[in-house]
């Protein structure tokens, strides 16, 4: 008798959970940025939800100074970045996951590379974890409302063409 009762309860819990899941959490197509702080290159805290680009698309690229394909991606885009900006108004935000071993090298590397990106530091991987990034590079595309509409893992030569196509789709 006791057993039966507990079984019933289990069933109730499960069905309750199922209903709760379906009614409460709808998988929305577009996803928002998590409420996480990163650091600017001059040490200030910056909440990533405050990213802003006048309603134009934003590309977020997770990278590190020790990651070859990441640097390849960002260097390749750097060559054509001005054209992209003129055409679509896009802004690229590069988030370095370098920890304290190589974090201080980020600014010298970025400046020496002549990048025009907005660069932030996520040195204990708080944002990386919140955005489900397992390995770098990992690229996200945000629409004018800061919602993630597309993402891509890894980088091989030519991937920037697909990224541009995606940006063009949502550019005003």
């Amino acid at each position: 008798m006791q057993l039966k009762k507990s079984k019933m309860n289990k069933k109730t819990i499960f069905s309750f959970l199922a209903i709760a899941l379906f009614t409460t959490f709808s998988f929305s197509q577009n996803r928002a940025l998590p409420n996480k702080d990163v650091k600017t290159l001059d040490g200030s805290n910056f909440n990533i939800t405050n990213l802003e680009n006048d309603g134009n698309p934003i590309v977020i690229s997770f990278w590190a100074t020790w990651c070859k394909p990441c640097k390849k991606e960002l260097n390749n885009i750097a060559e054509i970045y001005e054209d992209w900006q003129d055409e679509t108004g896009v802004k690229l935000v590069a988030i370095s996951i370098d920890d304290t071993r190589s974090m201080m090298r980020v600014a010298p590397y970025v400046n020496a590379s002549d990048w025009d990106y907005e660069v932030y530091l996520d040195s204990n991987s708080e944002l990386k974890r919140a955005m489900g990034v397992q390995t770098v590079p990992h690229t996200f595309l945000l629409n004018g409302k800061n919602e993630i509409v597309w993402q891509h893992k890894g980088y091989v030569d030519g991937d920037e063409d697909e990224l541009l196509e995606q940006i063009q789709k949502i550019a005003k």
Binding site: D42, K153, D159, D161
Partner: protein
């Protein structure tokens, strides 16, 4: 049961309270699976696993709604990959949290990761590739009372495999950004920080009085002026003897660490100079346990993390117990249109690092409150590691890009790998790398890597030459070559063949090939990779932490996905 049901009802009811915004909550996460088969291969020393196949898998789930978030991670080790600690066994949900923030206060209960300053006294983080996860379990508060002041404080236990440490940690950190605080436009930006951590662990040593509360503190200063950036931090830890009643463990030495870094950069040019010194600064979540699962602080390795395999064949590992090191970096971009810059510009990256022992040995070896090793001492000290390397990155024309590296590394194999002094002595290697990409047509590229490592053994080793057959240590591996071909079809496919060849091994039977074939498919946020090949036994490092990877031979499958 009833209790749970009613709890859930309340939980549900409180959610339906948000009915107006019901559909704005979001669930996201990521999934990762790594499966490897293990076949025996006597030549490379690879052993077969009883299970034939070993597997690690993770699923992260995060529910986010405005300023509230909750989530968990399911971890499955059936059984754990051979290079993981065997204590990672079975399935579980070792990571779960809930957090919200309101008016500058952020509250987290459950598991969280945290770092104080640069991590010298405390860092809780995860590095799945290395099998590191010392997440905290407890409560954390972050508060920003005014603009420019950031306070955080936490209490918790540190994760060790599937359990939690004996020690309880209490930590606090205050950071003041003076320019933000005073809303000042001063050209000199100053950020000051102070942090404190204390571990409580009951004493069980009946004879000696050892501290139950072991504290460590650190102060830091970050100054910025124009293109200059200075960061310095000093950390101190009180004595922390273990309970074990043996002379080598009963040690009342205190610890300290100091790090100094200055950088200058402007468009096309950047330099960085860094020194650090650490003395008896290993801080663990359990005073009586050893192993990386128990480490609770992070002393970054003072050398450049390398991604090319032969450059990383003999990596440096931090000696938190005692070392002095320095490092310099220069980044320079030769302008387009100049003689050396060519049509597209040429990028140079120079790096030098050197790490040696402390003068007179560290404080732990000299268990004496009077002893303090010299602050800076380089000459005549035992060299642990040295790396001089130059990287040249050049776009040759629209279709060809090249990256060249030349390096010379000195690696104290005896010390860094824990051998008896004189077994191998010190290795000196010269490494040359050429990495060239060809664009074949839109989306199709071919990449080729050629690497060469020429290595010789220095010092003390001569006594052993030719005598390894008599039971003495074998000679070091000698020269290596490596070749890689990678064909990629953007945005979905990649195929790679690589071979590492130990052609210079003095023992002819050990002149082996380590051949690997990999193919992968990527579509948006999903990535599939399958490979077959042999891996060399060695030290594998990511972001400054290293693990020993055994030789292996077999298939591997890896799937990762984010949503």
């Amino acid at each position: 049961m009833k209790k749970i049901a009613s709890l859930l009802m309340v939980f549900g009811a409180s959610f339906s309270g948000f009915s107006q915004e019901l559909n704005t909550g979001e669930i996201h996460g990521d999934f990762d699976l790594n499966l490897q088969s293990y076949q025996e291969d006597e030549l490379i020393g690879a052993t077969a696993a009883n299970e034939v196949i070993l597997n690690n898998a993770y699923l992260n789930l995060n529910y986010i709604k405005g300023n509230f978030a909750t989530g968990l991670r399911y971890e499955s080790y059936l059984n754990a990959l051979a290079d993981y600690d065997s204590e990672f066994k079975g399935n579980g949900i070792p990571y779960k949290y809930a957090t919200y923030s309101v008016d500058g206060l952020e509250v987290t209960v459950g598991n969280y990761y945290e770092q104080l300053g640069s991590g010298l006294i405390f860092r809780s983080y995860e590095e799945k590739g290395l099998g590191i996860d010392n997440a905290m379990d407890g409560v954390r508060l972050k508060y920003s009372p005014t603009q420019g002041t950031y306070l955080k404080t936490f209490i918790g236990k540190s994760r060790t495999h599937f359990t939690y440490s004996d020690g309880i940690f209490r930590g606090a950190d205050l950071e003041i950004n003076t320019n933000e605080l005073l809303s000042s436009e001063n050209k000199i930006k100053t950020i000051l920080g102070g942090s404190f951590i204390s571990r409580y662990q009951e004493r069980s040593n009946l004879i000696f009085k050892i501290p139950q509360n072991v504290s460590a503190y650190a102060g830091r200063l970050n100054l910025m002026y124009g293109s200059w950036n200075y960061y310095g931090e000093y950390a101190y830890k009180i004595n922390d003897p273990s309970n074990v009643l043996s002379a080598s463990k009963m040690n009342y030495a205190r610890g300290n660490a100091i790090t100094q870094n200055i950088t200058f950069s402007k468009r096309g040019f950047g330099v960085s100079a860094e020194i650090h010194r650490t003395d008896n600064m290993t801080f663990k979540s359990d005073r009586d346990k050893d192993g990386k699962a128990y480490l609770i602080n992070y002393i970054p390795t003072l050398s450049k993390p390398h991604a090319y395999s032969l450059l990383a064949l003999y990596p440096c590992a931090t000696q938190a117990d005692g070392e002095f090191g320095m490092q310099f970096d220069v980044f320079y971009k030769m302008k387009k249109g100049t003689f050396l810059g060519g049509k597209y510009g040429t990028k140079l990256a120079f790096n030098y690092s050197r790490i040696n022992g402390l003068n007179g040995g560290n404080s732990f070896l000299n268990d004496n409150t009077e002893h303090s090793p010299m602050l800076i001492s380089i000459e005549n000290e035992e060299l642990y590691f040295q790396d001089i390397n130059l990287e040249i990155n050049k776009k040759i024309n629209k279709k060809i890009k090249a990256n060249f590296v030349i390096a010379n590394q000195t690696y104290n194999k005896d010390f860094l790998e824990g051998h008896v002094k004189g077994d191998y002595g010190v290795l000196n290697s010269t490494i040359l790398i050429a990495d060239i990409s060809f664009k074949i047509k839109k989306g199709h590229s071919l990449r080729m890597e050629l690497q060469m490592l020429n290595s010789k053994q220095l010092e003390d080793y001569s006594a052993h030459v030719g005598s390894y057959e008599n039971g003495l240590e074998e000679p070091a591996e000698g020269d290596w070559g490596m070749g890689l071909l990678e064909y990629t079809i953007s945005p979905h496919w990649f195929f790679t063949v690589q071979d590492m060849y130990n052609y210079g091994n003095e023992i002819t039977e050990k002149q082996l090939h380590y051949l690997n074939i990999t193919a992968g498919f990527i579509k948006g946020a999903n990535r599939f990779e399958i490979g077959y090949g042999k891996k060399r036994e060695g030290i594998f490092c990511v972001g400054g932490v290293c693990k020993l990877v055994p030789s292996s031979n077999g298939f591997n499958l890896s799937i990762s996905s984010s949503f």
